[in-house]
Symmetry: none
Subunit: 500 residues, 2 copies
């Protein structure tokens, strides 16, 4: 037999696991958008069961042998198949590190903690979250320990590796060190400069939610979001879910302010376009998945921060916003909207942060989650440590925990090791957008006309369609000429916020 039948068998198993995981993705989306509150236990049971089933497919007793046989005959594979086999081993290494009862216990703990978090945030009462969050932390630490042993990494790197394959804390420390070296000083100069200029004019609401929804859909359709393969809905915490063929993005609306919702929608659109652009022939295999959260976040931030907060897009969008809300006057001119959308101000909430202060929010969370995982910070001390860090990094202290350590779902959701990918993604976004602008003549002019096809075409070819065929740094190097660094991000901030 010339073919690699062990590899073929692996493809069938991963396709089955993929179908289970895609089903779970839709159920997760439903949980955050549609599901009535009373169904949370029922849904937790469904998701835990699907998680265990997908896990069991991965850790079947003969998987190690199948992988070894497929690798021994890897000469018969083409480049994509070979990359797929590498990804199979990576996924298997993560999955097989964990006993099934730990997977299930953690899944159930997360479901309980998520629900507790919604209530704790509503009442700004961190104390009520401590019991369920402790359970999640304890189980996450056990997951990290098991994976660290299997992968030969530190506990933190093992967790990080789930979200960013190959990601390592040492690399983050170096990049964050560089950011730390110029960002506070740059922030000070930006704030000084803003103070020396008249404040932008406010856009006065109310802005009916239906009008916000319509203009949001209009703009993301223009950008390239395909409603034949996706939806835009509402959730408490915006996210991109579903599958590559069924992309579910969410936003949240505020009648008093459309601007945050709109940029949130554009952000999720960037995530959604990445998913939709993944290699069509590899939909059900590991090599067809998004490379990791750094590139994922690079796509959302490239869309939101690089493209849509740039003057070219605001010029295009301003008349549409005027029409959507039936407004006009000086506040509604593109120049003013652009100044609103590039306003820098230290604030309490990460998801509302401007791109200059955002990395400081992430550095705080990175520091705290490493300390919690290491046992150096007890959960009951988290609110205090949070507030101390906010004072140190951003110079402000939240008035309550809802505006502090309760604001993010990540830890209740088990997402320890995730936060740094936001800022690594911001670096990658700047680097990719600069490369796209160099590579595609007239790209910014196109955006100014609402023509995103040149940008999207470049991203499809250089990022989306590559799936997981290579590592993040390989993909970035091929696309931009260099591995991930801070230079493009620094240049972007200086150009946008401190123009000569």
């Amino acid at each position: 037999m010339i073919a690699n039948d062990a590899y073929a068998g692996l493809e069938r198993r991963f396709a089955r696991a993929s179908a289970v995981n895609r089903a779970a993705a839709i159920l997760n989306w439903d949980r955050s958008t549609m599901m009535p509150d009373g169904a949370s236990d029922d849904r937790a049971d469904q998701l835990a069961t699907l998680g265990v089933i997908a896990h069991e497919i991965m850790v079947a007793p003969d998987m190690a042998d199948l992988l070894a046989r497929a690798e021994a005959a890897a000469g018969a594979l083409d480049a994509w198949q070979a990359a797929n086999l590498r990804e199979m081993r990576r996924v298997w290494a993560h999955e097989s590190a964990l006993p099934g009862d730990l997977v299930e216990a953690r899944s159930r703990a997360i479901s309980a903690c998520e629900m507790a978090w919604r209530e704790a945030r509503r009442t700004a009462d961190f104390g009520t979250l401590v019991p369920t969050l402790t359970e999640v932390l304890v189980l996450t630490r056990r997951v990290g320990e098991a994976k660290a042993a299997a992968l030969g990494t530190s506990l933190y790197d093992a967790l990080l590796d789930e979200y960013e394959p190959g990601g390592r804390a040492a690399r983050i420390d170096a990049l964050f060190g560089e950011l730390r070296g110029f960002l506070p000083e740059l922030l000070g100069r930006v704030l000084d400069r803003q103070r020396s200029e008249p404040a932008p004019l406010a856009l006065d609401g109310p802005f009916p939610i239906e009008a916000q929804r319509r203009v949001g859909e209009e703009l993301i359709r223009i950008i390239g979001f395909d409603f034949h393969h996706g939806r835009l809905d509402v959730s408490a915490h915006p996210f991109t879910g579903g599958t590559a063929d069924d992309v579910r993005i969410t936003t949240r609306y505020d009648e008093a302010d459309f601007t945050r919702s709109l940029m949130g929608t554009l952000h999720e659109t960037g995530h959604g376009l990445y998913e939709a652009g993944l290699p069509r022939d590899w939909r059900r295999q590991p090599v067809g998945a998004a490379r990791g959260m750094v590139l994922h976040e690079s796509q959302s931030l490239l869309m939101e921060m690089q493209a849509c907060r740039g003057r070219a897009f605001i010029d295009f969008a301003a008349p549409r916003l005027q029409a959507a809300f039936g407004r006009s006057g000086p506040a509604w001119q593109a120049a003013n909207i652009h100044r609103l959308y590039t306003r820098v101000a230290p604030g309490f909430i990460r998801v509302d942060a401007d791109e200059v202060t955002y990395p400081l929010h992430v550095m705080l969370r990175y520091r705290l989650e490493r300390a919690m995982l290491a046992g150096d910070l007890a959960l009951v001390d988290l609110p205090g440590a949070w507030n101390d860090g906010m004072r140190e990094l951003l110079g402000i202290v939240p008035p309550d925990d809802a505006l502090g350590c309760l604001q993010d779902i990540h830890w209740p959701d088990g997402g320890w090791g995730y936060f740094p990918t936001y800022t690594l993604g911001a670096l990658a976004a700047a680097q990719l957008f600069a490369a796209a602008c160099r590579a595609v003549p007239g790209l910014l002019d196109g955006i100014g006309r609402g023509d995103f096809a040149p940008l999207l075409g470049w991203l499809r070819a250089n990022v989306h369609a590559r799936g997981s065929v290579a590592g993040t740094d390989e993909i970035l190097t091929a696309a931009t000429g260099a591995p991930l660094g801070v230079a493009a991000f620094k240049a972007h901030l200086e150009s946008r916020y401190l123009p000569a």
Copy 2:
């Protein structure tokens, strides 16, 4: 400590299969309500995979042995556990009767036939459906033969047993014979009487969909639908889906006529209340499932036909409908709305039929599907046999097959053996409602005040909470004093349509 460890092991397996099936139920709901068109292949793959996984859990090689060991030690089980074990064997008998290649071949034939049916119905051309419908019939017959051998029943009874456990054609023949004995004559008298009275006044639209949605939600909330454990959405074909803790009912709105949508919503509410009322301690086991389609349809028809088309409910609802649509005048008085909602008229389409003519539509389908399965009616002769039957039973002949034998999806969908449960459900609905009215003083007065708690409490105790702990006739006998019969249905029709 359960002394029967084989039984305990079975509970774990059925709980797992239940979680997979409940996940699939939400995904099915999503497919009909939320999913973008382009995701249908993706969703089909997810659902097929979950279906195979649930099937594999059921037909694991050691299941027969586990069942036998659990049954040998059944003395250690309590009454619910013993009933659960009986249901386990029933489910297993159905699942294990079929070879995998037959399941797959039939599934493929159904997919092809469904597509052909949509086109055939559009063009009113039954001839184009014959090849694919023949394939479905042949494979359904093979399924029936395999199950008949496993269950020790006739072919038709084996198919019926999937939808109505314990249902038998001999019983249906007897009940339908009784109906046949009085229904045509009763229908004639009702039509004569209607002709002797002025026609009801029409309710003129348009009726904004948002207003329809609001009043529908208001009314079903009053009836007892729990939005903490359920939703009301829109789909092309109304259905009740989801799970007992997460009931998803759907309706469809027509701006020109709110009356059909509203009654459709109330009908699905009856289904939904049954699901929500199933025994809470047995949510994930076969004994906790709805007993079968006869009792399921009895609950929807009890709510729609017995309770909500009755004068007491219309008296309660009329002022709310007037307020919802901002209308008044003679047409909007309860007496007129009640006359609209109890209008009888022979028509071509089953789903639009009134409760007097509906059984005649079902009798026709039952007669024809048995003849087709037995090989006594060739598919090419179906249109002629259909039209002969319509002339005989309803006195009208459809002008084309779209309004005739092409109107229902059931046969193309493989649902042979399902149709009789609609009319058996109507009989059960009348019998249960009469028993509830006898047992609960002031029940109708309560409905007239919008107080459904007495009715719902009686249904919960006597039907819903019994799950599958007993057979349909046992449940009916305990609740009403008699097994399923036609007397209450006949009395109901006479009382409503031929009052003295």
